[in-house]
């Protein structure tokens, strides 16, 4: 039962006890088959993103106008040189999908780092301190939330011009507000709980209460949300590329490939199917891993 309460109670200063909680969580994670599959998918995407030039020797931008819209190799007309077929410019789809993982990985991680840091901090402070701090953060969130997020990102990209950094900034700026909403709501409920009152009575500073007592208790909510947000960032980036507002066409990206493939939906379905599958599988891996982390970090919730 000791570990069952560990996810709920504020962490003790005893380093040894904390370490064993984390080891126990990792063990639980390793026993969850869905989480292991998720971790494996994430690992494959990471390997593709890091080692793309070593995995495939083909230039992702190499055009071959004598071999356009070749179907996948298992369909009549396909061949082994192009496992998943080629697009309208004769570029190899599999090669471009492998290279496309780079953009998705970079965007997903950067956006969560930006959005999570800003959002969790703001949410904790607003929910715990209330008063004018809460009011100011709430006003900024209100303005941000009142924006249709896609339209905001589209407008930002339209102003600054498409590019990887613009895309990251635009999505990061739409991301933090999600954390604020959830963390603030959770904190507002948590601050009425006995362990916070106890910490206050013991003379703990606000900073300490937020960092040591509230943050660990919103941790699992933030991890679940963080996976949603990595996923959302990858999908969001591909949507911007799909609208023609993402990374430049010379950089292979899954969304850009779908934008090309869309025009050949009725004749060459593979150009619209495989890049989308790549997005779905990658995002699914992140989601499965996040689900597993959630269960592992919060054993009280698992039956």
């Amino acid at each position: 039962m000791a570990t069952a309460f560990a996810g709920v109670a504020p962490p003790r200063d005893d380093e040894f006890a904390q370490a064993s909680v984390h080891v126990a969580a990792l063990r639980r994670l390793a026993r969850d088959p869905a989480a292991v599959i998720g971790a494996a998918i994430v690992a494959v995407v990471a390997v593709c993103a890091i080692f793309a030039p070593l995995i495939t020797r083909v230039d992702p931008n190499a055009q071959d106008l004598t071999a356009t819209l070749i179907p996948p190799m298992w369909i009549a007309g396909g061949n082994h040189a192009h496992v998943l077929g080629t697009d309208n410019l004769g570029r190899d789809l599999l090669t471009r999908i492998i290279w496309g993982s780079r953009v998705s990985a970079i965007v997903g991680l950067s956006v969560v780092a930006i959005g999570g840091t800003i959002g969790v901090t703001a949410g904790l402070v607003a929910g715990y301190r209330r008063g004018w701090v809460d009011a100011v953060i709430a006003r900024i969130t209100d303005v941000q939330l009142a924006f249709p997020l896609v339209l905001l990102a589209v407008a930002i990209v339209a102003v600054v011009g498409p590019g990887l950094l613009t895309v990251i900034a635009a999505i990061g700026l739409t991301s933090w507000v999600q954390y604020v909403r959830v963390v603030r709501a959770e904190t507002m409920s948590l601050r009425e709980r006995e362990f916070v009152a106890a910490a206050e009575a013991a003379g703990a500073t606000s900073r300490r209460i937020i960092a040591r007592h509230l943050l660990p208790n919103v941790g699992s909510a933030v991890i679940v949300l963080g996976t949603f947000e990595i996923a959302r960032a990858i999908v969001f980036e591909s949507s911007l590329s799909f609208l023609g507002l993402g990374v430049p066409p010379t950089t292979p990206s899954w969304g850009g490939m779908l934008a090309d493939g869309r025009q050949y939906l009725d004749t060459a379905w593979w150009t619209a199917l495989f890049p989308g599958l790549a997005i779905m599988v990658a995002v699914m891996g992140v989601n499965l891993l996040g689900d597993g982390l959630r269960d592992a970090l919060d054993p009280a919730a698992v039956n």
């Binding site: 009142a146 924006f147 997020l149 102003v159 909403r181 779905m280 989601n287 919060d298």
Partner: protein, 305 residues
Amino acid sequence: MLTYLTRRAFGALWALIGVTSVVFIILHLTGDPTSVMMPPEATQAEMDAFRHEQGFDRPLIVQFATFALAAAHGDLGLSLRHQEPAMGLALERLPATALLGGSAFLIVLLVGVPAGILSALRPRTWIDYAARVVALIGQSAPTYWIGLMLILLFAVRLGWAPASGIGGWRNLVLPAATLGFFSTAKLMRLTRASMLEILGADYMRTARAKGLTAVRVALGHGLRNAWLPIVTQLGVELGGLLSGAIITETVFAWPGVGRLAVQAVFERDFPVVESVVLIAATLFVLLNLAVDLLYAVIDPRIRYA
């Protein structure tokens, strides 16, 4: 409570002013739309005359003051492209988007939440696994790709439903399912997670020990306590549907506000973009206020003063 409402009303007003100002500034930073608006063969003199007539040659601060004054009277100017009142143009498209978004939200509410509850109550059964697989797919696949695949399957291959346009319910099915899929999946997951967290609580065991029926335990004691994050998320999702509509409408050529907005951004039609954003922002703000008020109803420990 009254003080709180008054404060929130001012907050809402501030949010709307903030949003319109930010959009005005962002859009005007993109530069002057004259070159986009005028035909390529226009002479310099014609360009200058257009620029002067539209007021683009005045300082930004003057343009903003003029705009803000008119906007306060509900006048957002004429669409640069269509030469009609921009607000009217956007409002004209609103019913189509409302129909699409409303249908999608119904799917979210009637499928997502119940499926999440069931999945949490019957963990590790086929219901749970089926709901989780559907939720995972919906959460993982991009909206526009789901749309493309639905078009490929139901319009191109089977010919059951039209691929684009507006008309009878057959036109509505594919876009609404596309738009609602992501949020449905998200709500399923969140409801399940939220319910699972509550199901382990001591008072749930007490409720069961008291001999309450399973339904009363699940809904009266479980859902009531799990509700806070769910309602928060429902509010966010309803707003998100408006954003999602921008992409869904583009994929299905649905004549709504979202498609108008994308066209207007590309055409630099400022007054139309401003109008769309103001309409969307008004809806969002009202929604958020409703959600915050609901908190106090759902969790009496939260008090507003």
